[in-house]
Point group: C2
Chain length 106, copies 2
Amino acid sequence: MTSKELIKGTLRVIVLKLLAENRRMYGYEMTQRVKDLSGDEIELTFGALYPTLHKLEAEGLVTSKTMMVDNRARKYYSLTSAGDASASKEVKGYFDFTKALSLVLK
Amino acid sequence: MTSKELIKGTLRVIVLKLLAENRRMYGYEMTQRVKDLSGDEIELTFGALYPTLHKLEAEGLVTSKTMMVDNRARKYYSLTSAGDASASKEVKGYFDFTKALSLVLK
DNA sequence: GATGATATATAAGAATGTTATATATGCTTC
DNA sequence: GAAGCATATATAACATTCTTATATATCATC
């Protein structure tokens, strides 16, 4: 892990992007996917992930469905159509911000 | 402004970088410089900037010196040698994180 | 004399993240 | 069969950090 503080503000975008790329995912899967994709650099914590997921659900950007898999409850999250629109918008916003910030930091 | 939330966690790096590039700067100057450099995309708020500056000072990474300029008090901030070391380290940390995150978001 | 740019700073409140904890299954190892 | 680890969801207490509002003050311009 490079820096834990820097994840602030980006968790929401990460979740939206993951769900935009995958029809449905469950929380634990997201933490593993992010860890893999980032080369073990970014590790999501559950204490941050679940509140974020619940918040997105309350905003109507995400829906969830609990299923039994291998005798174990698994809660799948998916984007709503509003969530799909938000996802591309917020990912773009992230890169715009990054670009602007790189002008300051370079 | 693209997104206000995304600035979270990056303010500290911004301040360190500004002071690494300039021998000394005052708060108001920092907000203007960041605004200029980022093409009006990033606007620092004083309520976030001053606490950050004071925190860096408490950590021994920054020192300050108040001077009268045009009959007006102006507080200049500078990096200590520890601050100088932190600056390059934390800027690098930011770009490492950004790189890792772009693997997730692309 | 009102407005706007310059200039620093604090306080209340909101948002968001960390750490610890609880719960539970299934698999592997001792 | 007990212990430990990976899998799996979730909440609570706490800490940090940012936003918004507010206070104060000078100088230049209209």
